[in-house]
């Protein structure tokens, strides 16, 4: 194999070499374009405020400083936002699995009566929805507005069900269930003692999908929650990132004594750098975990796309 590959390399024509070089160069440039904005955000967050304001930070932190972090962590809502996001994320993972796994298991059974109709019942909701206002009014009538449960209970996805069903259908042989049933196992027993233990990979995939979706979401929180102490991290960020912009403009235009103005200007500068540190703080869990869990995300996508 290795030998064949080497031969191949030797026989490469001139055109093929050009092709390889151009491809390599282009893809490296694209990679840099993807990395740099993220990298820049991180180095700015660790740099001195004045160095940032004068545009000296380009490829490495200048005058290493943690001021932006101490400022960000002093923001009252960051801590509660983090905690809330963890609660919502954990909650929607549990709730999502609780509803999705039994459903997907049942949907994978050939002997489910009117399976086609039941499939459509779920799939239609992917493409047709009641829209913002009926959804809002429904939650109001259920007394779910400004209730933490609204974010957790609302987080289901038909797509995840389809993935899990495909997995149950293709990865667990029917013979396992059949022999268990011969020995007198009930459907529940089959589900809990055969399907679930064998579904560990898909459970990990679904948990990650539900988790990331919830961690990154802000829209439902924005329209259904009103007290700031219930806001998830993303919504806190959304508010803070826009608020610090205002702080900046008011410092420039206000009629203040020079001392006050200078102080405010400095505050505004810190607020600017704080944006970078907040971005890093809120995406750090993902940044750290991503290389390790990437394979699960990809696996989920593969199963979803499977047409076997």
């Amino acid at each position: 194999m290795v030998k064949a590959r080497k031969n191949n390399l030797i026989r490469r024509s001139k055109g093929d070499v050009v092709f390889d070089v151009v491809n390599f160069v282009l893809i490296t440039i694209m990679t840099l374009l993807i990395i740099y904005p993220i990298y820049y955000t991180i180095i700015v967050s660790f740099s001195d405020i004045d160095a940032v304001a004068t545009g000296k930070v380009t490829y490495r932190p200048v005058n290493f400083s943690l001021e932006a972090y101490s400022y960000a962590l002093r923001q009252p809502r960051i801590g509660s936002g983090y905690l809330n996001s963890f609660i919502y994320t954990a909650g929607s993972i549990l709730w999502g699995l609780f509803i999705t796994l039994p459903l997907a298991y049942a949907m994978s059974k050939k002997y489910l009566f009117a399976k086609g109709v039941i499939s459509w019942f779920f799939i239609i909701t992917m493409y047709f929805s009641g829209g913002m206002i009926p959804c809002y009014l429904l939650r109001r009538d259920l007394h779910l507005l400004n209730n933490r449960l609204v974010l957790i209970l609302g987080a289901l996805s038909t797509y995840n069900m389809v993935i899990a069903r495909t997995y149950f259908q293709n990865s667990i042989p029917d013979e396992l269930y059949e022999s268990a049933k011969c020995d007198g196992a009930s459907e529940f027993r089959c589900f809990f003692t055969i399907a679930l233990p064998l579904a560990a990979p898909i459970i990990a995939v679904l948990a990650l999908y539900f988790g990331v979706a919830q961690w990154n979401s802000y829209f439902h929180a924005m329209i259904y929650l009103s007290s700031a102490d219930k806001f998830p991290l993303q919504l806190v960020l959304h508010t803070l990132l826009n608020a610090s912009m205002q702080a900046l403009t008011s410092a420039e235009s206000g009629s203040l004594t020079s001392g006050e103005a200078l102080d405010l200007m400095r505050q505004a500068k810190i607020a600017e750098t704080m944006k970078y540190s907040m971005i890093f703080i809120s995406s750090a869990p993902l940044l750290i975990a991503y290389p390790f869990v990437q394979k699960f995300f990809i696996k989920g996508m593969m199963i979803g796309a499977l047409k076997g």
């Binding site: 459509w120 929805s129 960020l237 990809i298």
Partner: protein
């Protein structure tokens, strides 16, 4: 079906009933999900009747008086609605032309890359931004492009005038497309890469023996093999056309450029949270979007099946 002629109807019904009773536990397993979907999805769908009503807060959705097509007449007469409608169409057309091919090109490029370890690292990098929220991505972009951001710092070192990209009306839509590619192209390319890895290698070997260059192999073997996947992704793209891209535009916009990219999704959001919202009117607009989405989806699916690209809905439905 075959039993129809042999067994008479009542006997068949009875058999079905015993069959269902025998498997009753399976129905218990789907019960929670069915209940959830009825309450959280189908109930609001019934709430779409609001589009044909004049909403009175005291009466609620169900008791509010019917007004027939009045909401729709005023929706279609509204100039802001038609502006948002055409804006949505336009943004989606450009999106399909510019952003949709990006992951395909990326997958082809990654596939042609010969260094396997480098390829793995690149994949991790390219797919990562997809998992950042739009709040984060938009602030990264804003920081980078703002008047005192990295881009202008770089221009200043070259002795060039600073540019205010975020406040420039003409640049706002290109910014939306580019940020979309930046965030999602890498992740979407995974699906194409998976298809490529399933292509029969003997085709390439035969082509190589016949003297086909790398480029020819790419155009005549790899790309055609990707067509079924491309058509499925295309259907998905079309199916979300009327309601898509909200997060991106909502988070990147500011007061100066807001009017440059008000799609229907943003329009609905704006009119719903205005000081004096007209719920009937907003619901009529979202119903319009939903109907168009569903219609486009079905149409695209049919066309794709006709062209032999393989439909999507059937696959989701049967899983086989």
């Amino acid at each position: 079906m075959h039993a129809k002629s042999v067994v008479n109807a009542p006997a068949k019904r009875k058999r079905l009933r015993t069959e269902i009773w025998k498997n009753r536990e399976i129905y218990l397993l789907i019960l929670p999900a069915v209940a959830w979907y009825i309450v959280m999805c189908y109930f609001p769908m019934g709430g779409l009747s609001l589009a044909f009503k004049s909403y009175k807060g005291k009466l609620g959705i169900w008791a509010s008086p019917w007004t027939g097509m009045k909401n729709f007449t005023s929706v279609f007469a509204s100039p802001t609605f038609s502006k948002a409608f055409w804006m949505t169409i336009w943004i989606n057309v450009v999106e399909v032309v510019v952003c949709f091919p990006a992951p395909i090109v990326l997958a082809l490029m990654l596939n042609e890359l010969r260094m396997n370890r480098y390829k793995k690292t690149l994949q991790t990098i390219f797919t990562f931004p997809n998992f950042l929220s739009w709040i984060i991505v938009s602030s990264i972009i804003k920081n980078l492009l703002s008047v005192d951001g990295a881009l202008n710092g770089f221009l200043a070192t070259l002795g060039l005038e600073p540019v205010s990209i975020l406040g420039e009306k003409k640049l706002f839509r290109p910014l939306i497309y580019i940020s979309g590619i930046w965030k999602s192209a890498g992740w979407s390319s995974i699906i194409y890469l998976a298809t490529i890895s399933g292509i029969d290698q003997s085709q390439y070997e035969a082509a190589e023996i016949d003297g086909a260059s790398r480029w020819q192999r790419l155009i005549f073997i790899t790309l055609p093999s990707l067509l079924p996947t491309i058509s499925i992704m295309f259907i998905l793209e079309i199916g979300g056309m009327m309601s898509g891209h909200f997060d991106r535009i909502y988070n990147l916009q500011n007061d100066i450029v807001a009017s440059e990219a008000e799609t229907l999704a943003l329009y609905i959001y704006r009119i719903t949270f205005e000081r004096k919202p007209d719920y009937g009117f907003s619901t009529a607009v979202s119903m319009f979007c939903s109907v168009i989405n569903a219609t486009l989806m079905i149409a695209a699916n049919m066309v794709s099946k006709k062209l032999g690209g393989g439909g999507l809905i059937g696959d989701v439905n049967n899983g086989h």
